[in-house]
Symmetry: C2
Subunit: 522 residues, 2 copies
């Protein structure tokens, strides 16, 4: 049985004032937290001069090349009124240029840190400065597991994955399009996705961004859940918006950004930069472009509603220059993510960056090596909202059930990592050595007895058994173990309680919406 | 076929002035180097005040508790003459205490950086400051592969693993006891081990430390290989010496240290600290103890021969506090390794630290997740000699053939990581964006064409194919791929040329030594 079920999670919360470990692995009660407060310094890769050159290049991109806004005259109007120089390219596309420094000026109203509320208030997360939030992977059309291989995602998969996320104490947020539920019509699936996040999770989540009316539905469902007043005064949902790189903001995106910002809800502004294809393949240039695109997109949210929660973002990837295939979990984007961290801090804005990236099609050694390379850059770079923290496989085309389990355990280890090293008389432990002196083991020293409950990360997934015990138990590898774990977790899952009236109202809203339009599959 | 054969490696060196990639994956000619010069800053975890407290605790351990030296009156004499306070504990063990600062003073003669010569001078490595060297795992009694599972290592395994190391361009050093060749008598196996390093590799290597006469044999074989004068004036071999934690230096170790130092050869001074068992389980205390033990051991080498190449070291590990099993690749020791990097730099001494640690018994996701957690701390912490960079499995009890392949590819990725991000007009790539403007792909821009040969790490092992292609090719996971790779690499292996007379002299020396004593199996 998994030790990471929500039941256990609730129990631990009650007893968190005096954590006690049983013999069961993987509890780590002292590390459980609704979001992480980073206790280690960020890993600052570049010096001041280099950062200034990147910022100057971002400013130059925005001033001399500009961004192109398509199909949204209202967004263009907002940019123009703020002082941007707008040139018509075609009847429904505009080139928008910003004087150096202008976008930065607009972004001054963006909060450095904000709270996204969850339906269970103990799960409210803070995003920004030293607060960090892990959320599952987002957006894959396929799912895969060891039993059935790769296939298109369905709403059942979607619900399963929300349940797995909710069951892990090492994620803090339910994410958004945890996989595409391709068995539901494109124009209606957002309703089922938002409902699944509300029903099977009591954490914060992301809403739809694929059309302005779907964004509006997502927010409307939150009004049913939280109440209108509460939604007007709190961030309860966020949208994850992609720029169309290089340097384009399409009208669906900008209208969605406006919808979330008008409602005072959060927005993430993400350039997905595949180097060599849609950005320079030198990382300095990719980061400069990332900053330019993310800042100009985020600025729109601030123009709509100054002070709206707004997250800068970077998704840097590389490619195989022999084949043109995207590559993930490679070293150069990891370095770039560290730099994005530095740049976001200089802007005093929250950052979404990196995640457990991989191109592997299996929950294997490659998957975890690449995931770790990428994920370390997110946590060391001080990213605040880390989407793609669990399940990312197959170059984001598939959500892997097994890798989801492996990634969440790694996220747990990162809780311990991010606590850092405390240095004080007690932790320096001179007495532990002095008590028995040279050559004597420390198992029974006062110091050991005082600390053994909380000293080390105790993985609930990794195998640390002696070889012989491991062999007796069937010589099970990590992927097979993960396969069993997700099944056990789903079997033990109990949805967090949801007010019956609210549930009915949500179902009613969904039914009405679904009845009001024919299915569309595009 | 592997692209990482020594043949290819030699070819690439000739053409390194103008690297060109073929369509074959995994060449990365621009990254090949006899050792790495770190191009990124170190990740400095603790502030000045915390570091000073750790140093003060290390000094206090040495001054108030002291170390115990056993069975080596000569070592004790050297410490006493240098000013240490010696107390007899028993007839053949002594407590040795050092006034605060005294050990640091002795270590001032240790070089901050030195060269270890290889029999092929293009493979000479530098160790210290920003120079970093990767070497295979060291000391496991077992080996494992997917075909035959886990079994005791033999000299054939030893030779195979030396060949695999030599075949990877991403290791720089042949290591030492790459596995225990348990089919050779304990008192003779060092001869075969040193010979295998000389015969099947043309890189630098480690010699025996298990008895003073075996250490002497290792050095003597180097005199045959390099010539006596050369050995007197250059570091050609190193010994990896473990303290007996907590706070003991046994006589075999100290005599070995003296043997290497007298010959002007290198020594590594390693406390293997299993927290809660032989060190405090709070990381601040473990690091303080590590510093105290490593410094006092290293000081002996400097007392024997001031200026002898001497490497501080740390092997920090955690344990499962439920079962008492050691755990590897966990977050707390990774943090401790970063701090050891800071402490070694303050002493201006080279550091050996961390490696690709794992407790997994399979070359699976757990193995690589743990490996990466540990290895990132070595490279980000600025360790200079990274033993255990390939093959470490099963909590160091086994050398895994498949993980060896996976780890070396990761070591390649770390070559790209350690280069860092260059920021200049060219890499900022403004022209790449300006050339075609918003919405236009960059495949054909001048900037892309100028950089595509060297832009990204191109893994020679990881699978980045589209899913369908991967499936057509048999849906092969990383472990299976690694299994095929090591077999192909061994099949294609050609030993680097060795002078026939030297080879004969080495064989003759070994034959005489073996004939001079009966086999001993302890």
């Amino acid at each position: 049985m998994t030790t990471d079920t929500p039941t256990r999670s609730r129990r631990s919360r009650r007893s968190s004032s005096r954590p006690e470990r049983s013999a069961q692995p993987g509890q780590n009660l002292h590390l459980r937290t609704p979001f992480i407060t980073r206790g280690i310094p960020t890993y600052d890769l570049l010096d001041e001069g280099s950062l200034e050159r990147i910022e100057a290049t971002a400013d130059r991109i925005l001033a001399e090349i500009g961004i192109e806004v398509r199909d949204d005259a209202e967004a263009v109007r907002l940019y123009r009124e703020a002082g941007a120089k707008v040139t018509e390219v075609t009847a429904d596309s505009w080139n928008v240029k910003f004087e150096p420094g202008m976008v930065r000026e607009i972004l001054q109203t963006a909060p450095a840190r904000f709270t996204q509320c969850a339906r269970n208030p103990v799960n409210n997360v803070e995003i920004g400065t030293d607060a960090m939030v892990f959320a599952p992977a987002y957006g894959s059309p396929f799912v895969m597991d060891l039993d059935k291989g790769r296939r298109y995602g369905t709403i059942e998969d979607f619900e399963n994955l929300v349940k797995l996320a909710q069951s892990s104490p090492w994620l803090h947020h339910s994410g958004g399009t945890i996989c595409e539920p391709t068995d539901i019509a494109v124009n209606k699936r957002h309703l089922d996705m938002v409902y699944a996040h509300i029903k099977y999770s009591d954490r914060a989540f992301l809403g739809s961004i694929t059309a302005p009316e779907r964004a509006a539905d997502s927010i409307e469902m939150c009004r049913i859940l939280f109440g209108e007043d509460f939604v007007d005064n709190n961030c309860v949902i966020m949208g994850n918006f992609n720029t169309t790189s290089p340097l384009i903001l399409d009208g669906v995106t900008t209208a969605g950004i406006r919808t979330y910002a008008e409602a005072g809800q959060g927005s993430i502004h993400l350039p997905f930069l595949l180097g060599g294809a849609v950005s320079p393949l030198t990382m300095a240039g990719a980061v400069a472009q990332c900053l330019a695109e993310s800042m100009s997109s985020a600025a729109l949210a601030q123009l709509v509603r100054p002070g709206a929660p707004t997250i800068l973002a970077g998704f840097l990837s590389s490619m195989s220059l022999r084949t043109g295939s995207p590559t993930f979990g490679t070293p150069e984007p990891a370095l770039g993510s560290l730099v994005m961290g530095q740049l976001a801090r200089r802007l005093e804005m929250p950052l979404r960056c990196a995640g457990n990236f991989s191109t592997s099609k299996r929950p294997d050694g490659q998957a975890m090596q690449q995931a770790m390379m990428s994920m370390m850059s997110a946590v060391q770079g001080g990213a605040n909202y880390i989407l793609h923290a669990a399940g990312f496989a197959d170059g984001l085309l598939s959500m892997s059930y097994e890798k989801f389990i492996m990634d969440t355990d790694m996220c747990g280890a990162l809780h311990a990592y991010l606590k850092g090293i405390e240095v004080n008389e007690d932790t320096l432990g001179f007495e532990a050595l002095a008590q028995n002196g040279p050559g004597e083991h420390m198992f029974g020293t006062d110091h050991t007895l005082r600390h053994y409950q909380t000293a080390y990360w105790d993985s609930g997934f990794n195998d640390d058994l002696p070889f012989e015990t491991w062999e007796e138990q069937g010589s099970i590898d990590a992927a097979t173990r993960a396969n069993q774990r997700w099944k056990d977790t789903l079997a033990a899952f109990e949805a967090p309680a949801l007010d019956k009236g609210t549930d009915e109202a949500l179902k009613d809203y969904i039914a009405r919406k679904k009845a009001s339009a024919a299915d569309a599959w595009y």
